[in-house]
């Protein structure tokens, strides 16, 4: 369980995190979303006591991080794949981390095997690819078999097999009752992994909702309809909330009325339907709509 209460972080005159409050609950995967510079990494660093909040408080499992007597068994954290001395081998890095808590080398070898690092465990971490570095960071996060996991962009640089492995791993950890906070910019990946989402923009919480609620609230569901009697159908379903777009490829895109309702009306009016497909919005669409105003580093559209 992670609880942030009205947390603010300023670096000089720049406010990175601005009065953020949220709760990350056990047993679910909570996705942490937001554009670059939204304050995700800063918030994660404050959770584990690396940065001190300017005001407000953050607690993990009921304590401030600095008060935990065994941080590694309470919280496993991957902040970035580069939190490793480049001159030390992966195994020595994990051994040094484990030693602080008296975690035996047996566990070190376990997490090495679990993350698929056996072949390179004795190589210096500086020679690792981005993906290998991510695996090492995840191995370090798992060392203490922690109740809470904080993973900042864990799939960054991983191959498709690795991406899938991380997805299965975090789903499994949450199913065991652990708390998982996960950030990523890959919306399709996030929509397959997270149950709950916290969206930050310009240091504020823009949304804190379940995946389904978020997508429903921020996207419009459309229904794709194909019929040889298009004009009849458009007239029949007309209403104050209903809009019909005709992209010209024979498919009508209808919003403001559900697919079953369209089907019923078509039957009542003796209109033949060749296709009736509800299309729900994607997390990506919801995210774009939600963060449109708060993207800090905006790109220009290519004309």
């Amino acid at each position: 369980m992670i609880v942030a209460e009205n947390v603010t972080k300023r670096y000089g005159s720049k406010t990175a995190v601005d009065g953020v409050s949220f709760t990350v609950r056990p047993g679910t995967v909570t996705g942490f979303l937001g554009p670059n510079g939204a304050g995700k990494s800063t918030t994660m660093r404050m959770i584990v006591g690396l940065d001190a909040p300017t005001s407000g408080r953050v607690e993990v499992n009921g304590s401030q991080y600095g008060q935990l007597r065994s941080p590694l068994t309470e919280v496993g954290v991957l902040l970035d794949a580069k939190a490793v001395h480049t001159g030390r081998s992966a195994r020595d890095h994990l051994r040094a981390m484990a030693a602080t808590h008296g975690i035996p080398n047996r566990r070190v070898d376990e997490v090495i095997a679990l993350t698929g690092l056996d072949a390179v465990a004795r190589k210096r971490a500086g020679k690792f690819s981005l993906g290998m570095g991510q695996r090492l960071g995840i191995a370090a996060a798992l060392l203490g078999d922690p109740r809470t996991l904080i993973l900042d962009e864990p799939v960054n640089g991983l191959d498709p097999e690795g991406v899938r492995w991380v997805r299965d791993l975090v789903r499994h950890l949450a199913a065991e009752g652990r708390t998982v906070l996960l950030s990523s910019h890959l919306m399709s990946e996030m929509s397959q992994t997270a149950d709950h989402l916290i969206v930050l923009g310009r240091g504020r919480v823009l949304a804190d909702a379940s995946l389904t609620d978020l997508v429903h609230a921020w996207t419009t569901s459309t229904v794709a309809v194909r019929t040889p009697q298009a004009s009849d159908l458009v007239a029949a379903i007309a209403g104050p909330d209903v809009t019909v777009a005709d992209p010209g490829d024979g498919t009508l895109l209808v919003t403001g009325i559900s697919a079953p309702a369209i089907g019923d009306i078509a039957r009542d009016h003796d209109i033949a339907l060749h296709e009736l497909t509800p299309r729900t919005g994607s997390l990506e669409e919801a995210y774009m709509a939600l963060t449109e105003q708060s993207v800090e580093y905006k790109t220009k559209d290519i004309a």
């Binding site: 690396l50 007597r69 490793v84 001395h85 001159g87």
Partner: protein
């Protein structure tokens, strides 16, 4: 599912793994001894100490009488002090430059503990290395200085200078470590360390030839770490205690300062 849910929630009390100072020290030992740069530094220290001791011992046979044989063992410190300082500096700046420091502080949120453990490990490693290389240097130079060997019956001519040279090497490493924690950048910390250990004594000494009005600068120069080391290791010297205090005060001040900054600074 319910059974699985209960397991991790019991973690706070049931896990046998928790932080302790001894464990953090062990971790810091693993960290320092698993870096090649450490072994390079220690190897260079050993080679310089033994090699220069042999050269001084050889040359001392031509010196006018009364050159204490133990001087051949402690004098190479003027060169190895920089290696000790650099070792201390990179023991921490290497963590900052690579980002390792975030892993360190995530595992051990109490930064004072990290600083103390690191200092202890650096001290032990330097002390053991200096002790071993001194023993080897004593044995290696013994045949050369057999005319006037080290007078082991007189502590002031033997064990005290040797012990003081161990203290001095630890001090030099602590100065590097302290600057490393304060400055965080490897090049900056090494520059500061070299400046304090090597450059400042030269600057202060330039005023020896100046008038009486400038003598306070020369006087202040006696409290630099290098002067402290020279005084503390001087066989039969009068100011051994003052030298030893100088050697303790510098790292104490730097490390306390580092701790003050470290407590509140974002990692």
């Amino acid at each position: 599912m319910t059974a699985q849910l209960t397991a991790p929630t019991a973690g706070t009390t049931s896990s046998p793994y928790r932080l302790s100072f001894a464990r953090v020290v062990r971790s810091e030992f693993i960290k320092l001894l698993t870096l090649r740069s450490t072994w390079w530094s220690l190897g260079i220290t050993a080679v310089l100490t033994i090699g220069i001791a042999l050269m001084i011992a050889g040359a001392s046979r031509g010196f006018e009488g009364g050159y204490p044989a133990v001087m051949a063992i402690v004098s190479p410190m003027q060169f190895t002090m920089l290696v000790a300082g650099i070792l201390g500096a990179i023991a921490i700046t290497g963590e900052y430059s690579t980002g390792m420091i975030r892993s360190t502080f995530a595992a051990v949120p109490s930064r004072g503990t990290v600083l103390l453990a690191k200092a202890l490990v650096v001290a032990v490693v330097l002390a053991v290395t200096t002790l071993l290389t001194s023993v080897i240097a004593v044995a290696a130079t013994a045949p050369i200085v057999s005319d006037s060997p080290i007078d082991w019956a007189d502590a002031a001519q033997s064990t005290i200078p040797l012990l003081m040279s161990i203290l001095a090497m630890v001090t030099f490493a602590f100065i590097g470590l302290g600057f490393g924690f304060l400055i965080r950048n490897g090049a900056g910390a090494i520059a500061a360390t070299v400046g304090l250990l090597f450059v400042l004594p030269i600057v202060f000494n330039m005023f020896v030839m100046a008038g009486d009005g400038w003598q306070w600068i020369v006087e202040a120069g006696k409290y630099l770490p290098m002067s402290g080391a020279q005084v503390a290791t001087a066989p039969g010297g009068d100011d051994v205690l003052r030298g030893a205090l100088t050697l303790v005060a510098w790292p104490a001040a730097l490390l306390v300062g580092a701790w003050g900054v470290l407590r509140t600074r974002d990692a």
